[in-house]
C-alpha cells in the first residue's frame, strides 16, 4: 500500500522504513499476542478482527479524506446511528418500533433499498454539513459537533428511543456472511480501502484533496475549486458512515439509537495513528488501514488474554501513544 511507496510509485527502502512505524508496531503487537497465546493466530480470530475493524475502518477511510483537507468530522458516530435507523425503517417498511427479531409480517423494501437509503442519507447529511462549512464559514469542528447532537436527536426521534430489529437473511448476509473463509464486512472494507487508495493517489481529484489540505489559499490561487472539494469530502465521509451503518445493522440484526457513540474518536485515532496530519495535506489510506488494524488487534489481543477492563484502558492508551512516538522516532532517524 501507499505507506510503502514513495512519491514515484516505486519502492524506496528508506521511505519504506520511515513510513513503517505503525506497521512495524502492528507486526510487533501480533507477534507478542501470538507468543502469549498461540490461538491468537487462529484464522477464525484473525477474521474476527478484520470483521471488527471493518465498521470503524470504513468510516476512517472517509475521515482520511476529511482530515487530509485539514477538516474534521465529529458527527460520524451519530450519523452512523441515523443512517442505520433509516436503513432499518426502509428494510422493515415503516417506523413502527418493531422489536421482533423475526422478519415475518414485515413489509419492507429489501436490502438494496435499505443500503441505498443509508448511503444517500449519509452522503446528503455530509453534504449539508459541507455546505454550512464552506458557505457560512463555520469551522468544521463546530458544524460537525452540532451535527453530532442533531443527528442523535433525529435518530432518537425517528425510533422513539428504541431499536429496530430483525432483518431478512439477504440483508443480514452483508454483516454475517462469508465468502470462502472471509467475512463479508472485511471484504467490503478491503474493496473500499483499495478504491480510496486509488482515488487519492491516482486521480486528479485525489491530488486536489491533498492540495487543498496542504494550503487552501494556494490551492485556490492555483485554480482549484476549493469549496467544492471541501464539500465533497464531507459527502464522502457521510457516504461511508451510511455504508458502515448498513453493515453494522446487518451484523447486529438491529439498528440502535445508541449506536456509534464515541466512534468519532476511534475513527480519528485510526486516521491519525496511520500518519495523517490533522493540519492537512499529509497522509494515506494505507496508513489509516494500519491505524484501524492496530486499534483492532490491540483490543482483541488484550481481551484474548483476559486483561481486566480497567487495565485494558490504560494499556491501550499507552500503546497508542507509543506507536505514534515510535513512528516519529523512526522518521527522525531516517532523516539524518
Amino acid at each position: 500500500m501507499s505507506v510503502a511507496e514513495d512519491q514515484r510509485g516505486g519502492i524506496n527502502f528508506a521511505r519504506l522504513l520511515m513510513s513503517f512505524g505503525p506497521l512495524l508496531f502492528l507486526v510487533a503487537l501480533i507477534v507478542v499476542f501470538t507468543v502469549l497465546k498461540p490461538s491468537f493466530m487462529d484464522p477464525i480470530n484473525l477474521f474476527n478482527i478484520t470483521r471488527q475493524i471493518s465498521i470503524t475502518g470504513l468510516i476512517a477511510l472517509g475521515m482520511t479524506f476529511v482530515i487530509l483537507t485539514a477538516g474534521i468530522d465529529l458527527s460520524v458516530g451519530s450519523l452512523l446511528a441515523f443512517c442505520g435507523m433509516v436503513a432499518a425503517v426502509v428494510a422493515k417498511g415503516g417506523t413502527a418500533n418493531t422489536l421482533s427479531l423475526s422478519t415475518s409480517g414485515t413489509q419492507g423494501y429489501g436490502w438494496f433499498a435499505a443500503l441505498l437509503a443509508a448511503v444517500v442519507v449519509g452522503a446528503a447529511a455530509g453534504g449539508v454539513q459541507g455546505l454550512v462549512i464552506t458557505r457560512l464559514k463555520v469551522p468544521p469542528f463546530v458544524v460537525t459537533l452540532g451535527g453530532l447532537t442533531v443527528f442523535r436527536g433525529l435518530t432518537l426521534t425517528i425510533s422513539n428511543g428504541g431499536p429496530i430489529s430483525g432483518f431478512d437473511a439477504s440483508m443480514r448476509w452483508f454483516g454475517t456472511g462469508l465468502i470462502g473463509p472471509v467475512p463479508v464486512p472485511a471484504l467490503i472494507f478491503a474493496a473500499a480501502a483499495i478504491l480510496c487508495h486509488i482515488v487519492l493517489r491516482y486521480t486528479r481529484y485525489g491530488r486536489a484533496v491533498y492540495a487543498v489540505g496542504g494550503n487552501a489559499e494556494a490551492a485556490r490561487l492555483s485554480g482549484l475549486r476549493v469549496d467544492r472539494i471541501l464539500v465533497s469530502v464531507y459527502v464522502i465521509v457521510g457516504f461511508f458512515a451510511g455504508l458502515a451503518a448498513f453493515v453494522l445493522s446487518a451484523r447486529l440484526n438491529s439498528s440502535e439509537a445508541v449506536a456509534g457513540i464515541g466512534y468519532e474518536l476511534t475513527v480519528i485515532s485510526a486516521v491519525v495513528i496511520g500518519g495523517t496530519s490533522l493540519f492537512g495535506g499529509i497522509g494515506s489510506v494505507g496508513g489509516t488501514v494500519v491505524g484501524a488494524a492496530l486499534i483492532g488487534v490491540l483490543q482483541n489481543g488484550l481481551q484474548f488474554n483476559n486483561v481486566s477492563s480497567y487495565t485494558q484502558s490504560i494499556v491501550i492508551g499507552l500503546i497508542l501513544i507509543l506507536a505514534v512516538a515510535f513512528d516519529r522516532w523512526l522518521k527522525s532517524r531516517v532523516r539524518r
Binding site: 514513495d6 512519491q7 514515484r8 510509485g9 528508506a14 486509488i198 493517489r201 491516482y202 486521480t203 486528479r204 485525489g206 491530488r207 486536489a208 491533498y210 492540495a211 489540505g213 496542504g214 494550503n215 489559499e217 494556494a218 490551492a219 485556490r220 490561487l221 492555483s222 485554480g223 482549484l224 475549486r225 492537512g280 495535506g281 499529509i282 531516517v334 532523516r335 539524518r336
Partner: protein
C-alpha cells in the same frame, strides 16, 4: 479582416477606473492602464502603492470596489482565479502560492496532472515533464522533492516555471525576482524576452529598477493607490531617475550611496572556524556548510554574496543556533559559544532577520505591536512579568518614525501591511534588542526603492554604533553599496573576500561561480 489588420496591436487588457477599498484603506483609486500582446509592462510603485492589489483584481482573487476591465474586447469580471486561468491569464503571486506538502512536480501540474488511459494520474510522465519545465528556469532539483524542503529562491523558480508551462496570453508577475540572484534574474529576463516575441503580454512588478528598466517596454507607476503616470521606452531603456521621480513624487536622491566617512572597524566580535552542518536527506541536493571560516568585526557591515543555494542562509542559521552544527567553533568576544537554540543566541546578543518573512518572521494574525516586541518581551515587561505597554508603544512609535513604517495603528494585524512595511517591522523587532551581532538575510527583499535606502542607512547607523552587521543579499548593487567588507560563498564554502571599496560586480560574480575555474 482588413479592419483588424489595420490595427496590428489591439489592446489585450484595459483597466478602466479601478478603485478598491479595504476596511478603512483605499488601496486603489481610479487607476487605468492597458497592455498589448507582445508587450512587457512594468508596474512600479513604493510599498503599499497598490500594485499587488491591482494584480489580484486582474487574476480574479478579489473583485474591485468599482471600475471595470476589458479583456480581449469583452467585459471581464473574473469571480475566481479559475476564470482568469481559463482565459489564459496566469499569475505569479508575491506571496508564493505553492502547496508545501506536495512535490515540485505536483505543484507544477496542480489541477492538470497527466493522466493515462484509465484516467489515472501518470506519475512517471508528470515527473519527466516537470523535470524539463524546471530546467528551463535553471533549476536542477529532483521534481519529486516536497516543496517544503526548498529554499525561498528555489520556490520562486518553481513558481515561475509553473507559470511559464501554462498556455497563456497574459502573464502577471508580482515580484518574481525578489529572492533571486543575478544569474537567475538574467535567465528570467531572457525568457521574458522570448515570450514577448511569441506575442504574450507580461505585466511585471519589481522593486529592482535596473531590471525593470532593462526589460520593460512601458511602465505604469502607482503612488498611494493613484496613477502617477505612464513611462514609455523612447529609443533606449527608461532611465532610473525618471522612474524614481514618478514613484516618490520628488526628484531622485542619490541611491545606494556609500557614506563617505565610515568608522574604522573594531575588534573581531564573532569568529567562526571550520563550521560544518549536516546534510538533510529530505533535500538531498542541499548544499551544506563545508568548513566555513569567517570573522565579523565590531562596527563593520560584512556583505555575504553568493548564488542561490550557496549556503548563506545556512551559515546564518547555524550561527544563530537555529540549525544543528556538525563541527566547528564559534567564538563571541573571544569566548567560545555553542548556542543550542535561537533563544541562547539571542541571549548572547545575536539577532537574525530571516529570509522567509511569511513563515519564519511574522505572526500574521497578530497585531503590529506584539510582532514588534516578541523578541524583547523581557525588556518590555516589569519584574512581575507584566507587559509595560506604554514603554512598548513608545518604542514602536520611535521605530515607526525612524523607519517610516506605514501603518494605521499598533493594533492593525501585520497581515494587512504591504510586504515592505512588514519587513521594516521585523527590522524594528531586532533593533529594539540592540544586539551585538545582527545578521540580516535578504533585508530588503520586497522593499521599495525609498525604503531600501532607509534600510541601508539604518544598517550603516547600526554599524556606526559598534554593532557587527552581517548582511546576506542576492542583490549585488546592494552588497556593493553598503558593505565594508564582502565575502563570497559557493557550495557551502567561502571563496573569497575583499574590502567593499575594492569590489565590483564582475569580481564578485567570478568568485561566486569560482569552482568553474577550480575544476580542471
Amino acid at each position: 479582416m482588413p479592419a483588424e489588420a489595420a490595427s496590428p496591436k489591439p489592446v489585450l487588457l484595459a483597466v478602466e477606473g479601478i478603485t478598491k477599498h479595504f476596511s478603512g484603506v483605499t488601496a486603489l483609486s481610479d487607476v487605468s492602464l492597458d497592455i498589448r500582446p507582445g508587450e512587457i509592462l512594468g508596474l512600479l510603485g513604493e510599498n503599499g502603492a497598490g500594485k499587488s492589489t491591482l494584480l489580484k483584481i486582474l487574476s480574479g482573487v478579489m473583485p474591485p470596489s468599482s471600475g471595470h476591465i476589458i479583456f480581449d474586447g469583452a467585459d471581464y469580471q473574473p469571480s475566481s482565479p479559475q476564470d482568469a486561468k481559463r482565459l489564459g491569464i496566469v499569475t505569479i503571486y508575491q506571496e508564493l502560492s505553492l502547496i508545501p506538502t506536495l512535490t515540485v512536480a505536483e505543484n507544477i501540474f496542480i489541477g492538470r496532472a497527466p493522466v493515462g488511459p484509465l484516467g489515472l494520474v501518470s506519475w512517471r510522465r508528470m515527473e519527466a515533464a516537470s523535470r524539463d519545465i524546471i530546467a528551463r528556469v535553471g533549476l536542477s532539483i529532483d521534481p519529486m522533492t516536497p516543496v517544503s524542503a526548498l529554499s525561498v529562491a528555489e520556490q520562486q523558480l518553481v513558481e515561475i516555471a509553473r507559470a511559464l508551462s501554462l498556455k497563456s496570453r497574459l502573464i502577471i508577475m508580482d515580484e518574481p525576482t525578489s529572492a533571486l540572484t543575478e544569474t537567475e534574474v538574467q535567465r528570467l529576463l531572457s525568457i521574458m524576452d522570448r515570450l514577448r516575441k511569441d506575442k504574450v503580454a507580461i505585466m511585471f512588478v519589481t522593486h529592482r529598477l535596473e531590471e525593470a528598466s532593462a526589460i520593460c517596454d512601458r511602465m505604469t507607476v502607482l503612488r498611494d493607490g493613484r496613477l502617477a503616470g505612464h513611462l514609455n521606452r523612447e529609443g533606449g531603456p527608461i532611465a532610473l531617475p525618471r522612474i524614481i521621480e514618478k514613484m516618490v513624487g520628488r526628484a531622485a536622491s542619490e541611491l545606494y550611496a556609500r557614506p563617505a566617512q565610515r568608522a574604522v572597524a573594531g575588534d573581531v566580535v564573532l569568529s567562526v572556524r571550520g563550521l560544518r552542518t549536516v546534510r538533510d536527506p529530505e533535500a538531498p541536493h542541499a548544499i551544506v556548510l563545508d568548513g566555513v571560516d569567517i570573522d565579523l568585526k565590531a562596527g563593520e557591515i560584512l556583505g555575504v554574496a553568493g548564488l542561490v543555494g550557496s549556503g548563506r542562509t545556512e551559515l546564518a542559521r547555524a550561527i544563530f543556533g537555529a540549525d544543528r552544527i556538525a563541527a566547528g567553533t564559534i567564538t563571541l568576544d573571544g569566548k567560545p559559544i555553542a548556542p543550542a537554540s535561537p533563544a541562547d543566541a539571542i541571549a548572547l546578543g545575536i539577532g537574525l532577520v530571516p529570509e522567509d518573512r511569511k513563515h519564519q518572521a511574522i505572526f500574521a494574525a497578530l497585531g503590529i505591536l506584539p510582532n514588534f516586541s516578541v523578541a524583547s518581551l523581557g525588556s518590555f515587561s516589569n519584574g512581575f512579568g507584566f507587559m509595560a505597554e506604554r514603554r512598548e508603544r513608545d518604542a514602536l512609535a520611535g521605530f515607526r518614525k525612524m523607519l517610516s513604517i506605514r501603518m494605521a495603528s499598533a493594533e492593525q494585524a501585520i497581515e494587512g501591511l504591504s510586504g515592505g512595511n512588514q519587513q521594516k517591522v521585523i527590522l524594528a523587532r531586532w533593533l529594539a534588542r540592540d544586539p551585538k551581532v545582527l545578521i540580516v538575510d535578504e533585508p530588503t527583499r520586497g522593499v521599495d526603492v525609498g525604503a531600501k535606502t532607509e534600510v541601508h542607512q539604518i544598517l550603516v547607523q547600526l554599524a556606526a554604533r559598534g554593532i557587527a552587521v552581517m548582511m546576506i543579499s542576492s542583490e549585488l548593487p546592494e552588497v556593493l553599496a553598503v558593505s565594508d567588507r564582502i565575502v563570497t560563498m559557493r557550495r557551502g564554502r567561502i571563496t573569497g573576500q575583499m574590502p567593499g571599496v575594492e569590489a565590483n560586480e564582475e569580481r564578485l560574480m567570478e568568485l561566486m561561480a569560482l569552482d568553474r575555474k577550480e575544476t580542471p
